[in-house]
Amino acid sequence: MLSEIALYGAFETGLIYGIVAFGVYLSFRVLHFPDLTVDGSFPLGAAVAAVMIIDGFNPWLATGMALVAGMGAGAVTALLNVRLHILNLLASILTMIALYSVNLRIMGRPNIALLSEETVLTPWYELDLAFHQVPVALFLLVSLVGLVMLWRFMQSETGLAMRATGANPRMARSQGIATGWMIVLGIALSNGLVALAGALFAQSQGAADVTMGVGVIVIGLASLIGGEAVLTPRNVFRALLACLVGAILYRLAIALALNADFVGLKTQDLNLITAVLVTLAIVLPNARHSVKSFFSRS
């Protein structure tokens, strides 16, 4: 079984990946826009936050700026698609690749340690909580606030317009919705969330690293699909909740697998396992057919 520390650790990272899954839900589910920018915007958020924190800025300001930077990255992907008519998937790959250079430029070196810096977590250690409970408490708060805000947004006039844009763009246009701008807004928001997650991740791990984004999109998808399988989302609220639940379950499953010595798994096997899990979730007959039809379309 898992130690208490490993259990809290799984919740801590699970909640962060839950925020990534919110972003992936926005792009893949709401807008039907397969967006891989995520692999670049996650470390972008980490890079922006880390650099600002070591420059002495308030860690919340740094985290907020990370979100803004992520939105910028998302907007670039969406504009490449909407304005220059580059295929959405390709547009996102271009931004993702470009971000690798951008992130290195921002950080000035491949990684930045934050161990001795003041982060968003620092004041929380004053609270009467065990050391390993602190990040869980804070990230639970952040992800729940994110969930409620996103849920409210999806019910708003603009949120409805965004959902219509993804579900039926022709109908959306005929209702007077500027679908191009909705895609820009939605993909920006999506990557803003992912960058926020990246900023929190760097602060909880005590370092930002340019390579920390590799495979984040697949983890986000795994969380999304896993959560959907458990919660069968019939409405936006359940869908968002599924993102969080899926991400936590995913981290728990990984922690268990790594913990069980007889399985012989190592940390470096994670991406392979995740990819296999996502593949299984897509092809298994009971996988949600929408997922299936989306991914098997050429």
């Binding site: 006039e157 579900a167 039926n168 007077g176």
Partner: protein
């Protein structure tokens, strides 16, 4: 009011598949007029409606809706004046959204959308009243997903959505073609009621000659991207389906002889 003047539109310009769909089409429709549009497959009926709604841009010519030149405006910027119902009953609504969410999207057609609640309580009464008139029991299902409704029900809701806020023109492209005869009749009646009550300027494409004569106040036939005949008033009153058919045949026949003369 619609004024389409000398519309030209060629698909695939400069390619071997060049296909002129509108060839100098002109049509003026007065406010409150209900025009039925007929024509054979490929005559350009859908293209005309797409051009009016902005889904396709004309190469040349001018489109004026209610004294405003909309020729260059994209679909979403014409939506305040143009409401549309598609042939495919699934096309006019979002199946993953609820009935009330779909109707709330439509109540804001062509207006600014902000961060206020999308489905407002004050809308709900209006939606319920409008749905109740359909006698389909939908007034108690505001929170149901649209995807749970049948094609006919969805088409009826699409029509309601088109009438929720004032638009000056209503475009209907064979919107009953995919429905069974009984439902088609129901949706057609609903169409007439809505057009009459809201005094819409309407353009309805149909393949049924009978429908074309029974409904509306004027009938226009398109052929090869042009208006080849246009009848209204007394002339139309006395017309029966066979007369229309022979007119139809005559027009096409003329084209054929014209062509053979040219070729000969």
């Amino acid at each position: 009011m619609i004024s389409a003047d000398n519309l030209q539109l060629t698909f695939g310009k400069g390619t071997p598949l060049e296909n002129p769909a509108l060839r100098g089409l002109s049509l003026k429709v007065d406010p409150g007029e209900f025009v039925t549009v007929i024509g054979s497959n490929g005559a350009g009926k859908s293209t005309l409606l797409n051009a009016l709604s902005g889904e396709v841009m004309v190469d040349s010519g001018q489109i004026i809706v209610d004294d405003k030149d909309v020729t260059k405006l994209p679909t979403h910027r014409r939506a305040d004046r143009v409401a549309r119902v598609f042939q495919d009953p699934l096309a006019g609504t979002c199946e993953d959204l609820t009935i009330e969410e779909n109707m709330s999207l439509a109540i804001k057609r062509g207006m600014r959308r902000g961060l206020g609640s999308g489905v407002k309580n004050r809308y709900r009464k209006r939606f319920r009243d409008a749905l109740a008139e359909l006698n389909l029991g939908l007034e108690n299902r505001l929170g149901d997903r649209m995807g749970l409704l049948s094609g006919g029900q969805r088409q009826a809701v699409s029509l309601l959505m088109a009438s929720l806020n004032p638009s000056s023109i209503l475009l209907l492209d064979e919107h009953t073609a995919a429905l069974d005869p009984r439902t088609a009749r129901f949706v057609l009646n609903l169409t007439c009621n809505i057009v009459e009550r809201h005094r819409k300027t309407a353009l309805m494409v149909t393949h049924s000659m009978k429908q074309a004569l029974d409904v509306g106040s004027r009938t226009v036939m398109l052929h090869q991207g042009q208006v080849v005949f246009d009848i209204s008033g007394e002339e139309r009153e006395g017309l029966e389906v066979p007369d229309l058919l022979s007119l139809f045949e005559k027009q096409r026949g003329l084209e054929v002889t014209d062509d053979s003369l040219l070729l000969g």
